[in-house]
């Protein structure tokens, strides 16, 4: 499939978020376009994760507006975000540890399963068929992520790199239009990082999923993203293509420091 970056999928306008007196985000605006790989970077405590939390409705900003698929909102609600096709992974892996890989990924299908309580309680007829169909969908994801061997393993027992992969699988099971990845490669070795990069690009390529990611490894960010926004102390420093951002003086100052 030819990858074509399209119209704006999501834009945030003048978002400000504070917790009591602490300002986490101040007047942030940017937009994410369909089918692109978009990176949010910045030093520790810059507000990157807060930004993702605002987008998928965990945090509710005091000011500003979020426009997703043409609908303006003051704030997202997390359930609505999920139903509308925003999926995410977490910085420090939030999986259901006692459940198997398969069950974890199946939870991603919950919002796509429509049969009502009655049929499910009976576990027959349409509900059973639906369960089967969804199971097939999940098996495809398992193949795609090359985690067949750990299908039945409780995820609490898996090494960190694989847990991250399962978490990605769960997000993919939601058939997201916008996939938010919070440091998908943190704590991985080079090989695992390469694998993860490949998966991210493949998802973007094969399913046409828009991806917004937070990452600290600058090499990775510059390689795989189409556009980058830089945050520092809750403010936006710059945005644009990787090359533009790399050349921006404010960004260089923020990362390397300025002589006083």
């Amino acid at each position: 499939m030819e990858r074509k970056i399209g119209e704006t999928l999501l834009s945030v306008d003048h978002i400000s978020l504070s917790f009591g007196g602490v300002k986490a985000l101040t007047d942030i605006s940017f937009s994410i376009r369909e089918k692109e790989v978009f990176a949010i970077i910045g030093p520790n405590g810059a507000g990157k994760t807060s930004m993702l939390n605002v987008i998928n409705g965990f945090y509710h900003p005091q000011e500003g507006e979020i426009t997703y698929k043409g609908v303006h909102r003051k704030q997202m609600r997390s359930h609505e975000a999920a139903v509308q096709g925003i999926a995410r992974t977490f910085q420090n892996v939030a999986l259901f540890k006692g459940m198997s890989t398969l069950d974890n990924i199946m939870t991603g299908r919950i919002i796509r399963m429509k049969r009502n309580l009655f049929w499910q309680a009976m576990y027959l007829g349409p509900a059973r068929k639906e369960e089967m169909e969804n199971r097939e969908f999940v098996e495809d994801i398992i193949d795609f992520l090359e985690i067949q061997a750990i299908r039945r393993t409780p995820v609490g027992r898996l090494p960190y790199g694989l847990q991250k992969r399962v978490e990605l699988g769960r997000a993919l099971a939601m058939e997201p239009e916008l996939l938010l990845l919070d440091e998908p490669m943190a704590g991985m070795n080079i090989e695992e990082k390469q694998d993860m990069c490949r998966f991210i690009l493949d998802v973007n390529d094969q399913y046409g999923t828009t991806i917004a990611l937070i990452e600290h490894d600058m090499g990775v960010v510059m390689d795989i993203s189409d556009r980058v926004v830089v945050l520092d102390y809750g403010k936006k420093l710059a945005d644009g293509s990787p090359d533009e951002v790399r050349a921006n003086q404010d960004v260089i100052d923020a990362y390397l420091g300025v002589p006083h």
Binding site: S78, H79, R88, A94, L95, G108, I110, A121, L158, A171
Partner: protein
Amino acid sequence: MFQAFFVDPFVMIYDAPLFFVEVLVSGLMAGVMYALVALGFVLIYKASGVFNFAQGAMVLFAALTFVGLWELGVNPWLALILAALVMIGVAFTIERVVLRPLVNQDPIIFFMATIGITYFLDGFGQTIWGSEVRPLDIGIPNEPFMDLAEMTGLYINKFDVFSAVVCSLLVALLAGFFTKTKIGRALRAVADDHQAALSVGIPLKTIWTIVWSVAGIVGLAAGILWGSKLGVQFTLALIAFKALPVLILGGFTSIPGAIIGGLIIGSGEKIAEVYWGEAMGGAIEDWFAYVVALIFLLFRPQGLFGEKIIERV
């Protein structure tokens, strides 16, 4: 001593096998009723990873509401439905007032909150309906099946059979409802990690309300059955603690476990009381279950059917 423990009981069983069957059956029936109380705990534990201290208070509150309405002259069937609705109302309120502000907190915080709920429900129920003992007669005679007794010599109590049937139906219904389906999976997901559950679009509030409602209705059933045995009174709230050994045996997360745990505890304590009671000075029914649970904890802390606890270090 040896004689009293290891010989006499077995001689008794051998001499009167019919009596043994009666003891076993009445134990199993009591066990099903323990299972019903235990079930309320399991449901909430599965959906929030929290031991709901208030389950006993919910049993009492539900039974009080039912009896209270009936005494006011409401048709018993209507009273049953109204009491169920009240329990759903209680679930809504608990979700809104107690659980929602605590999303993503540690289980211990939730546990403390359920202790608060316990005191509130105990007090609130007795404030509205009074605290005297109310007899409850739901029209099932507390007597043995005479035909069966004449034919075989077995005395099986009608009320015990009735309550066992009701409990089995409820248990089967719930087991179907909560396993294998997306609801079951959503429940476990919510119990495991609130934030992750939210991110895949599981509506936390709805799940909690459903689960607490169901636990309330199960409490109502338990309250009515136990209430007609013991009278509706404050001690009903303490029945909940009889469910503890059942849970330890069956595993906190398993519906079949609650049932089998209930059966083992129920029949075990009856048999122990009848055959070994004298040798140990009597009234061992009161503590037998807890000792079994303690021994069990040594060997299988997750229970017979519970999920194994896995921690990567």
